[in-house]
Symmetry: D2
Subunit: 222 residues, 4 copies
């Protein structure tokens, strides 16, 4: 993002933050007692170049996600990965529903390497890979029931995109009764600005945006 | 079922039907304008001998399901199949949730032939195979959103088990705004009596129980 | 229920139990660490005479529910009550959805004394009264998110009807990741036999059926 | 919003739109055959001055919502209103769940005039008023089932706030299989900029942003 644009956004965020804080918004929800890590769509079609879905910043996002995994595995914290993929991408019976009318969902074919989780994250056999059909990791999936059955109260969110799947997942998470924590260095998107304003909206109303360092310290302390 | 037991059930159903009808229950919901066929768990672990989940009556159920598919394909009616399968069947991160504390869910391993749809139904590439983790085909799946996106208003239900997944699916279907039609000859279970009483409860409160003949005539007339 | 009919049901249950146990069903899910009490539809239209919904056995059910409330309040265990009620019971915009096509939902008018919780249970201001539109206390309500936010892992179910709302709630509860406990003396229905076979199905697949005494002892021990 | 800030946002939107369009995003989903109007949180605590939730722009938003209602009533199109309200705003059993940890949810007391629909919209007895506990009109409510039962395929969204409840509702709507249409003049918020960037994100990925004029013309043509 160009510096003058970034500066303009900062001006808006400062003004809005004052309004929000005066009104009692922008509180801190805090970490809970038992977290899970949810990596949103860190699959090849988003993490590698050349796809309609390709996102920026993987040089920072992937290492951040790896560091979270390392501590989580040590601490026996559940790790989930989502991908978005469709079995039928043509004709009147598609599991894309209506979404392909808005975005290039037809590029995400179930069973292809494109929608497999990025090998740098190396999911283990006892970690959940959840195939979702919509933006939210909770919508039309067993995620909420799975987390509850394992007494999870906090979801640590990484991945892409901030303007789509990560945002919707954070909104659903608090609605379902989980504390959403979005890790600043571990999220991204493909268009300038959208990361900043979606983090701002989440911080205002839906969950906490925390640094990788703070999140790792919390996990290590469990 | 032994004749005297069957007779005893019939006595209860007759008495209960009188109560229900006097109270305004047991109405007929009727077929809608655009149906989908939902085959519940007609996968090998339920349709073939030798599994904990094995059900009876496949000599009638499978041909009934085949006949429904034949007409549905001709009429371009969406067909969905569910199976129940788990990626992680051991340890603290299992997608079985709490269900293995009650039933032998650990026998249903994702990716095995056991949980594949029975080859006699031969799903086509444009038909949906939905992997569910719970009894209902709607719970934790994209089924409701998929059906709505395709303007479906009626779900024709077949499969097993009546006391578990078919019952819960029928209950959820009407809750979600779809007309549930359970095809009498196309449903079954593994224990005597449970088919009869679950069909009775559904007929009383949640959906219509129709014969294969009536259902086929409806589909042919579309 | 007449003795010979009851005997016939017992014969079926014994035969089915053997099948289920041999197959690995009918396990005990057990009580968790933090329960909530959910009283299903113990509202006047179900608990008092003269309504289409009127149920039997309130001389036992109400005192059982009262005893559970007494201990729960002492132990600061959350208590929820559901009622089923509709704002619009005529015309094309009804919140009955399709359910009035099957049952006399039109008798349950939101805001009337008919759908108010039975005064013998005397809900307190900090106890939740959830108005639902469907059979399950979870379907189309905030119950799951509410329970999760308060770290509840077990739902103690009472109320009516066993063949409708209690059954569907138990099924949804385990699907959502909560341990369903149905209190034998605290549930009922309006037609003979349906309590017995629905408790049987739940015990086989979805939750534990426990006596009032066992449940009270568990609650007292928290 | 100050002109230079607005200009800066326009620069970002233009650059991002080019990326999105090149990648196949920002398609037009289009109006369907049977719409419903959903007014999000046009209740006093949002539409009148002096509350933590108070929003700007009601001189434009309310007349726009009124015009939509006028045509919708003429054309027998279902109208729904949401409000956000909590029965228990203190202590460990609150239906606020975790949301009060982030926003001043405790100001929204169920049954008060504060959370009543603005009298300028004058809901009629056959129009649905849905009390929600979370941001989305779909989350923990019967809205999806209600809309499906009435064959609705399109939701016309108005109200507040764009950065919260309207955004989350639009995301859930397409996930549930409904076409989301956000009416530009009929939505608002309480902080500068957030309307613009949330409309931008929705237009890119979740639904169509349409003018009041276009929407009224569509409704009149039904």
């Amino acid at each position: 993002m160009k510096p003058d644009i970034k500066a303009a956004l900062e001006v808006i965020f400062a003004a809005d933050s004052e309004i929000y804080k005066n009104r009692g918004f922008m509180r801190r929800i805090g970490f809970g007692k038992r977290p899970a890590i949810i990596h949103i769509d860190l699959a090849n079609a988003w993490t590698k170049p050349g796809y309609p879905m390709t996102c920026d910043g993987m040089d920072v996002i992937i290492p951040a996600a790896q560091q979270l995994n390392e501590v989580a595995r040590e601490k026996k914290i559940p790790i989930c990965y989502t991908t978005t993929a469709f079995a039928v991408t043509e004709g009147p019976n598609s599991d894309m529903g209506l979404w392909h009318l808005k975005i290039p969902a037809e590029a995400l074919k179930l069973g292809t390497e494109d929608v497999a989780i990025d090998e740098r994250l190396a999911p283990r056999p006892d970690e959940q890979i959840i195939v979702k059909k919509r933006a939210s990791a909770f919508h039309g999936t067993y995620l909420a029931g799975y987390l509850r059955a394992h007494d999870v109260d906090t979801v640590i969110l990484t991945g892409v995109t901030m303007a789509g799947c990560v945002r919707h997942t954070a909104e659903d998470a608090i609605a379902e009764g989980f504390r959403p924590i979005v890790v600043r260095e571990a999220v991204g998107d493909r268009a300038p600005g959208v990361v900043e304003w979606n983090l701002f909206d989440i911080q205002a109303k839906f969950g906490d945006v925390e640094s990788l360092e703070t999140t790792l310290a919390y996990l290590r302390g469990l």
